[in-house]
Symmetry: C4
Subunit: 206 residues, 4 copies
């Protein structure tokens, strides 16, 4: 199978898995997988992510303008791929814990996770004692401006914390990535589950 | 396939999808799809919406009295179709967030949504900053009276807000519509998910 | 199909449906269907209710002692069948909203439901304005004593309220019944859903 | 079928069942089944527990060092099997109620359950009035030290309470066991469900 066919297949599978969890309600969400250094496969705007066909997936060169039919948010994907050659897949969902938590945490710019064994599912985290920093951004319909804010913040580490392979947009949801589609899927599931744990935990702790 | 057969098939599919989500418990809910300017296909009263047969669906002329076997609530459907020629499908469910929220919000006549990216799944909403107005009505066993209250309220826009393609009946659930069955399904899923987000968010905000 | 085979099949189907909802965790729950005036089909003790075989179902004469392999709780079923000839099926589950609510409500002997359209799924309820009375009993390992308390309470109507086709045992779960397996299933789903709505609603109302 | 093939099959089935419930997110969790007095079948580190292949399962002699590819936590399994010959299967999950509750309860070293009929699904519990003691341990990346703390605590009964067939690791999840894979699965489902009930109940009780 060609790298391109494999990437298209991985996008279809990622959408299907997210849809089963109800993480991409009403055609929301978008999914991309890197084909090579210059190109990614990415979902078209406005389609049902639970039942993607190959025609729903665009082959986007990273150094060219977004293709017709692109989601405006495709720019958040391509900017990350251009800046970070090790990223192989980026998945964006409107999962409930991420989406609700993003609004609760936006005033502090970060959501901090610590004390959960499941953190170790995030690449580079070796202990539940690690402090994991998940950036939170105010949502913005100006995707270019938002992408520049994301880029500036991701370039700046938080002292004593490990940066999560993902970030939150307030009231909008979660972006998560990995070196491969499998790692991005693992990071996505780990982050949403950690947000569920943390939200539930905070209901009982002042 | 005839327009009539297509409408009947779309009603069956809408019921099946809602039932999988547990949004039509115990034969509750009702679903209709427009066949043409004068006629709609609509679910019969008292049947399991998750396993509809063609015989469970009535072909109701909009300008004639409700057929034998109709749900009393069919009048809420036919009144909307008569008044709004652009409406192609109306789906009503007892989904949990909508049903609970409807009682919490009834004293204010409206549920207001803002700050959620998913709002953009509602036709006409372009930004998370939009204010979306979802009317809330006290429940009533007199469907004629209820239908007139709905009609009066939907004719009256709320300043500075976009009207949602749906409304809530207190303790009863959600009515949502769209130009086509696909759009009605997208609006239904978006609204119930937005209510889930908002309910969860309000648990943490005074 | 004989009445006996139909009853056994209905018990198997009721267990399977409840198990899919996770309402009979860890071999809990029990299910019975009336065969005729003198006999019922009822689940054996200690078996997985989600995957019942005909051999897991006992054919219990109502006027004889419980058969070997019976659940101790079978007596709660047979006492109801003897007293109420119109009851055709009784389903008992440990569903989450019923089980949690049963403990919150036990000090008041009753859980009162009003204001929900879904109440109309309960036989005899015509309006959301009806007050539905669900008796709540302290749990008891002495099933004979418990059965007598249930019988005494069910014989006593609550002024101004409609008696639900079911009751709660504190920390134990829900018993629901109907004239047929289909009606018992409808009552079971309606009651558990009403308890979910009411529990969620009470989180926001003092 | 050999005891070894049966044990491998039971591990695969346990992982699949837990994954469907979302109790082993992102390759978390581990599962083992005893083959005989000296050997167990146990999941390899870092694999998806919902889709285990025979090659993902190690045949671990209890008196030998952990095999290459083992999870560090395998030692928690082997220590329990060596000490308790009656234990036939041990399942570990990151289920949500267990994981959240483990952090809320860690300061008191124990989670106490009483008043739930479902307690009787735990081996040795005869009444809802029993007090069930579930030990809670602070999480530790030093599995040897953690295993010794577990061993010391399990050897010490709590006066007036019945010891649960399982324990919690704070922020990490649930270990549950039984004489057979079927009993371990029943205990796992009963404990997670009891934690769900108790968490929900505590939201309403001060």
């Amino acid at each position: 199978m060609s790298a391109r066919a494999a990437a298209v297949g991985a996008v279809i599978e990622a959408g299907r898995t997210a849809s089963i969890r109800h993480w991409v309600p009403a055609t929301s969400g978008n999914f991309s997988v890197r084909i090579d250094a210059e190109t990614v496969a990415i979902t078209r705007s406005g389609v049902d992510k639970g039942d993607l066909k190959p025609a729903d997936i665009l082959i986007q060169p990273l150094e060219q303008p977004l293709l017709p039919g692109s989601s405006a948010e495709a720019e958040l994907h391509t900017a990350l791929y251009r800046k970070h050659p090790a990223i192989g897949a980026i998945f964006h969902v409107h999962s409930p814990a991420a989406t609700v938590f993003s609004r609760l945490a936006v005033s502090t710019d970060s959501l901090t996770l610590t004390g959960w064994e499941l953190q170790k599912a995030l690449s580079g985290v070796k202990t539940h004692e690690a402090i994991v920093d998940v950036p939170v951004f105010a949502n913005d319909q100006d995707i270019g401006a938002l992408s520049r804010r994301v880029d500036a913040r991701l370039s700046r580490a938080v002292d004593g914390a490990i940066s999560a392979p993902g970030y939150l947009l307030a009231g909008h949801g979660l972006y998560a990535w990995g070196a491969s589609p499998a790692e991005a899927a693992r990071h996505l599931e780990a982050l949403e589950t950690l947000f569920e744990f943390e939200l539930s935990y905070r209901r009982f702790t002042p």
